[in-house]
């Protein structure tokens, strides 16, 4: 092979190596944020750690399919949610049909009614971190995925739709229902079941 053929090849390889290193560094810099979401998409810390390693192994292998300038965090979470489904760690569930409280204000009303102060700051303080974490784990997976991505991961409806590969309308309806289920579970955890 002549020098003139080898030179562009070497340049191409050097550029590719540089792009790959940059990609890996960017992906690793997002690992804390990806983990926070992953931790609440699956049932346990061990599962979340396994899933993170599989996700990053796959991401590093498929880095060429990432389009620079698009949302890398969403891309990583798309891999993570696909792996989660592929590994059969959870079944896609049919939407649950448990009856829900009708109004959106019922958590506030319930907390306010069960205490003496009605200042909204103090009403929130009646919830504990445990109330939230255990309530979130009670939300069925399909709904929890959306709540975790939008309310904890701070993704837009469109990003969540892309990550979960579902229509945006489904994101909105699952979010609505998921938040209600979460509030219901928080109310039960904080002030007990419905005594009425």
């Amino acid at each position: 092979m002549s020098e003139t053929t080898r030179e562009p090849d070497a340049r191409r390889l050097a550029t590719e190596a540089r792009d790959r290193v940059r990609f890996e560094e960017d992906a690793l810099a997002l690992s804390d944020q990806v983990y926070r979401v992953a931790r609440h998409l699956v049932g346990s810390r061990e599962e979340a750690e396994d899933l993170m390693q599989e996700t990053y192994a796959r991401a590093f292998r498929s880095w060429r399919s990432f389009q620079p300038g698009t949302n890398l965090r969403a891309w990583l979470l798309r891999i993570l949610t696909n792996l989660n489904i592929d590994r059969g760690r959870r079944q896609q569930r049919t939407p649950d049909t448990q009856p829900l409280e009708e109004g959106d204000y019922f958590l506030y009303n319930k907390l306010e009614a069960s205490g003496d102060g009605n200042d909204e700051e103090r009403v929130v303080e009646r919830l504990s971190q445990n109330d939230v974490v255990s309530a979130l784990s009670e939300v069925p997976h399909d709904f929890r995925d959306v709540v975790v991505l939008v309310d904890i991961g701070d993704f837009t409806y469109a990003d969540a739709a892309q990550i979960l590969d579902i229509p945006i309308g489904t994101v909105m309806s699952r979010l609505h229902r998921g938040r209600r289920i979460l509030k219901q579970a928080m109310a039960e955890s904080a002030v007990g079941g419905d005594e009425s």
């Binding site: 190596a17 790959r20 290193v21 890996e24 690793l28 690992s31 804390d32 983990y35 926070r36 931790r39 609440h40 810390r45 750690e49 993170m52 390693q53 990053y56 192994a57 590093f60 109004g103 959106d104 204000y105 958590l107 506030y108 009605n118 909204e120 700051e121 009403v123 929130v124 919830l127 971190q129 939230v132 974490v133 979130l136 939008v150 309310d151 904890i152 409806y157 979010l175 609505h176 938040r179 979460l182």
Partner: protein, 79 residues
């Protein structure tokens, strides 16, 4: 037919309002009502604080440092 109740309407708009997905006209309608109605304003403040609280509550568990090291170990070795 049920009579129009602005507080019920505001309640329906509350989550989309917090998600910032309302149209300009809807947002303005919601804000006008919140300015005028102490009942809904109180609940709006609660909902906004609740979101913040939920986010903080579940983010208190940091990623284990060992996992971070394992992820870094998955990088392609430099040739």
């Amino acid at each position: 037919m049920t009579a129009y109740d602005p507080c019920t309407h505001c309640e329906e708009m509350m989550q989309p309002y917090l998600d910032r997905v309302l149209t300009d006209a809807e947002r303005s309608e919601a804000e006008t009502h919140l300015d005028e109605c102490a009942y809904c304003r109180k609940r709006y403040r609660f909902e906004a604080k609740l979101r913040q609280f939920v986010r903080q509550a579940v983010q208190q568990e940091p990623m284990p440092v060992e996992l971070k090291a394992k992820l870094a170990g998955l990088r392609t070795p430099l040739e």
